[in-house]
């Protein structure tokens, strides 16, 4: 009995090392030479089981599920309404938003963060996004933020298409188009900047009359270049994922959308496909 219990513990320990920490089977066996003969076939079966289970749902399902889930998340959110936003003229609404952002603070802004275009808090969401964009200074940071916002717009397109609101779908698609164009132009601007940073000094420079100011230390310069390269790689990964998921999710939405929303949704699919291609091209 005691021996069995001990073996169960050893087996479990080896499974942890093998499956979680990725250690080699031989290493486990070497650690427990007395039990090695009994352990080996079991560990081989465990490895084969793990390998066989390396399955994934289809990418188009993942995309569809993600957006369905996000829509469900919107529906369960507690709805707060700003009673005064319904009838005020535009300038008053803008003032109210500014006041809300300044005075009401975190709660409203947080609630607005998940609102959809048919929600009274949606203008607060857009205003907050603008503030975030203004506060983000680097090109890559801005591009990443635009990519994240593009993701939100796609969720909104699907949500509004499901509700049969073609005008809202078109508006969100236009915003998506603007964001993806900006991602591309920011990526291009960044690439030019990087080239300038990496460019060797001109071959023949006239001798300076004065002692020039020292160049920034190579280490610091390299660090900046690496940081930019990392940011670009991160952005490329995000865009690569979105380039597959967004059109797939929009196509999946097309199947279920009411007829009235389908033309606007088709346009949105075209925008997302072309937009991501252009943005990814700019990054390469």
């Amino acid at each position: 009995m005691k021996k069995t219990k001990e073996f169960n513990n050893i087996l479990d320990e080896c499974l942890e090392l093998l499956l979680v920490k990725g250690e080699a089977l031989e290493q486990c066996l070497r650690s427990y030479p007395e039990q090695a003969a009994e352990l080996e076939p079991l560990l081989q079966t465990a490895l084969a089981t793990k390998q066989a289970l390396a399955i994934q749902p289809r990418p188009e399902f993942i995309a569809r599920a993600r957006y369905q889930f996000r829509s469900a998340l919107q529906e369960v959110k507690p709805k707060r309404k700003l009673f005064f936003l319904g009838w005020q003229p535009r300038w008053a609404t803008a003032m109210a938003i500014a006041l809300v952002l300044l005075l009401a603070g975190g709660g409203t802004v947080a609630a607005a963060g998940n609102s959809m275009p048919d929600n009274p808090l949606y203008p607060v969401k857009l205003a907050t996004e603008k503030v975030r964009l203004t506060l983000t200074r680097s090109n890559m940071g801005k591009a990443e933020l635009y990519a994240k916002l593009a993701d939100k717009r796609v969720a909104e397109i699907i949500y509004m298409a499901n509700k049969g609101e073609p005008e809202q779908v078109e508006r969100a698609a236009q915003r998506l188009n603007t964001y993806l164009t900006r991602v591309a132009s920011l990526a291009l601007a960044e690439r030019e900047g990087e080239r300038a940073l990496l460019a060797p000094p001109p071959a023949q420079v006239p001798p300076p009359e004065e002692i020039p100011a020292p160049l920034p230390p190579a280490k610091g310069r390299d660090k900046g270049v690496y940081a930019q390269a990392n940011a670009r790689a991160r952005l490329r990964m995000t865009l690569g994922r979105y380039a597959i998921n967004h059109p797939a999710a929009l196509r999946a939405a097309l199947e279920k959308a009411p007829e009235s929303a389908k033309p606007a949704l088709l346009k949105a699919i075209g925008i997302s496909k072309a937009g991501y291609e252009k943005a990814l091209e700019a990054l390469d």
Partner: protein, 183 residues
């Protein structure tokens, strides 16, 4: 996930980002668990989604009383599987869907994996319900023994013993299937 507790608390406040992170962290694991148990890809996809929609609806009732979030989520998945089989009792088990796709992009490996998962699903049918559950939670759900124990309401010692007997039984079933193929 180190800050899982804070993520769950935020998700309970309907924080979209927190819930999305939990969703991303567990989606594949729940899918594999369900796919292994029911052996049908399309159903497994839809059921996985349903698990998260159910979790979304009831997360406010989740309490940290010694039960980790993963254990709670897998219990939802388990109940979903039980419901599925209850509805299917009079039907024969559907063969494993062709499109159970391996994450590997090499076609030869896909074929091998597909064969493996088919064998695996059919071999697990020879296991007891408890053994099957341990294999599902431990290998597909990637839960630790401690968490499997929480899901199944058993001691860790009992789970380790079950794990041992499950792997032995699985090996026997796989070898038997291989022998039958040769005949």
């Amino acid at each position: 996930m180190q800050d899982e507790e804070s993520l769950v608390r935020r998700a309970q406040q309907r924080d979209e980002e927190a819930f999305t992170r939990l969703y991303e962290a567990y989606f594949d694991k729940i899918y594999r668990y369900v796919a292994l148990k029911i052996g049908n890809k399309t159903e497994a996809e839809d059921m996985t989604q349903q698990v998260f929609l159910n979790a979304l609806q009831s997360i406010s009732s989740f309490r940290w009383k010694g039960i980790p979030f993963s254990a709670w989520l897998f219990r939802i998945a388990h109940n979903q599987v039980v419901d599925y089989f209850r509805k299917q009792t009079k039907q024969a088990t559907a063969p494993l869907d062709e499109s159970l796709v391996s994450s590997d992009s090499n076609p030869q490996l896909i074929a091998e994996h597909k064969l493996d998962i088919e064998q695996l699903v059919s071999a697990t049918k020879r296991l007891t319900e408890a053994q099957r559950e341990v294999i599902g939670l431990r290998f597909a759900g990637e839960l630790s023994v401690a968490r499997v124990a929480k899901v199944m309401g058993k001691s860790q010692g009992a789970v380790k013993a079950l794990q041992h007997s499950a792997i032995v039984a699985l090996r026997k079933a796989l070898l038997m299937a291989k022998d039958n193929e040769k005949d």
